[in-house]
């Protein structure tokens, strides 16, 4: 057996080598870069980059655009996250109903947005939101609601992106909820029925507590995913109008690849990392407490 001691390392080498070169070293490099003034002049000549300690970070703190991007991203997460989860949960409960026919068909229909290309559906929604020719305003006018200039009005641009995100993502979490619902043992509902609990009380006292771990997992996953939103504003609004939809990753992309301020952009990336890390830690600690 001992002559086989190298075998697992041979098997691991391609994967670990790739991860080291294209993931772990770049993370370290980004961390170092965030303390330098690496910019377009450093691209040709590394000597030009100097360490400026916390210069980028202190500059970020006084950068109104960065605060705007941060606020927008939190808006997207705090409003879009819970909305997505509520819609997912309701859809899962409806799909799980015993009264429902064509269950597989409905499930497929709800899931279609999840698997389709985000950029392509963002392009489609851009036209659906058109203030004059778009279907959304037309349908609203049919039921007597005055439409708005969705993507052109700073107040409405972010809600428009949130609507798209809910539509695109709810099917994914719905599947996870559906698995959670099907795992709830029937005898709990029977016991509740025998005690005279109606539909609503069964939901509050059986379904909600039984689904708590699933809900928690889904919530954290959604939050972490939504903090990284980028393609929607890139395609639909370019961060406008008046920077109303500028997200952290979009700002990072602009600073890094439009202005080549790589040191500054790396600092933005690390702030994003710290935020995501915080939420992941919350999940880990609560999960541990749940097991204990």
């Amino acid at each position: 057996m001992h002559k086989k001691i190298y075998t697992p390392y041979f098997f691991l080498a391609p994967a670990l080598g790739t991860l080291l070169i294209f993931f772990f070293l770049p993370v370290a490099a980004a961390f170092l870069m965030s303390f330098t003034d690496f910019d377009i002049y450093s691209l040709g000549n590394l000597q030009r980059a100097r360490f400026i300690l916390f210069g980028n970070y202190s500059q970020l703190l006084s950068d109104p655009l960065f605060w705007k991007a941060l606020a927008n991203t939190f808006y997207f997460v705090i409003v879009g996250g819970p909305l997505t989860i509520i819609v997912s949960l309701l859809a899962a409960i409806a799909l799980n109903s015993r009264l429902l026919y064509f269950r597989n068909w409905f499930r497929l229909a709800f899931f279609m947005p999840v698997v389709t290309t985000l950029v392509a559906v963002a392009v489609v929604w851009r036209y659906l939101y058109h203030p004059r020719f778009g279907i959304i305003n037309y349908l609203l006018s049919q039921i007597g609601i005055q439409g708005v200039d969705w993507l052109g009005d700073p107040h409405w641009a972010m809600p428009a992106l949130i609507l798209l995100a809910v539509w695109k993502n709810f099917g994914y979490h719905m599947m996870i909820f559906l698995a959670g619902l099907q795992a709830i043992p029937d005898y709990l509902y029977e016991a509740a029925r025998i005690d005279g609990a109606g539909w609503w009380r069964q939901f509050v006292h059986v379904t909600v507590p039984q689904l708590a771990p699933t809900t928690f997992f889904v919530t954290i996953m959604t939050i972490i995913g939504y903090f990284q939103f980028f393609a929607e504003p890139y395609v639909m609004t370019q961060g406008g109008p008046l920077n109303a939809t500028l997200s952290i990753v979009l700002y990072l992309y602009q600073q890094g690849f439009r202005w080549w301020r790589m040191g500054y952009a790396s600092a933005i990336a690390f702030i994003l990392f710290i935020i995501v890390f915080f939420f992941a830690m919350v999940q880990l600690s609560l999960r541990k407490r749940g097991e204990a």
């Binding site: 697992p8 698997v115 290309t117």
Partner: protein
Amino acid sequence: MKTNKFFRKYSAMIGLHLVMILISFITLLPFLWMLAASFMKSGEASSFPPRFLPSEFTLAQYQFLFQRLSLGRFFLNSLILAVSVTFVSLFVNSLAGYAFAKFSFRAKRPLFVFLLSSMIIPGQVTMLPVFLLLNKLGLLNTYFGIIIPGMASIFGIFLIRQYLQSVPDSLIEAARIDGARDFAIYWRIILPLAKPVLVTLALFTFMGTWNDFLWPLIVMTKEEMYTLPVALANLLGEHTPDPELMMAGSVITILPVLIVFMLLQKYYIQGIMLGGVKE
């Protein structure tokens, strides 16, 4: 009393179905409009009140895309990348997943914990250094610039490891006694056994690569190397093309992933249940 209960059950059932049909309608409407508008003549989608069907069915938008805007090339780029990343990463991740599942070695646990904990690092953090590295290696605007960094995924390694842990050791031992080499065991025994999880991972990887936007946007700066999503976004950025043309482009972009998903639905849903991770 009895009829009342009967009536309540039926009204609940009808109500439920009406709500479900309404939600399906909202879910599918953007797709239906996209499809309808892609067959319209230029200008028809910009009319008031909005049209839901083309006045006459035309393939002019598709012809224009393929003949004048070289959409075929972008389609090919997307396909080459999605297929090669899928195959290469299946190989690399299954090797590593097998090592973690069925070998005991000293660094196993610390390595595993290290990989697990690094899953929370958002990919955008590595964007700039990877770009600089690919630039140094001369891999910008090449297929390898996407394929090589995409060869290994921590999620893929975990998925395969999880699955292979249920494979009995006796199978591997028996093959060893018969004198099979380690690689032969992996190739002839492990891979066939892991088929279901490999299909799941292949599906996730294919769709993830096809739908990806951020990486190809950064790596592919020359037009002939664009993938479909990048071409679509840049078409929109450069000038304001006809909506009908953009809809045809969206149809071409969405259709392949949709077909692949429809064919392999079962495996996709299994993947979510195994702790699926988004692209």
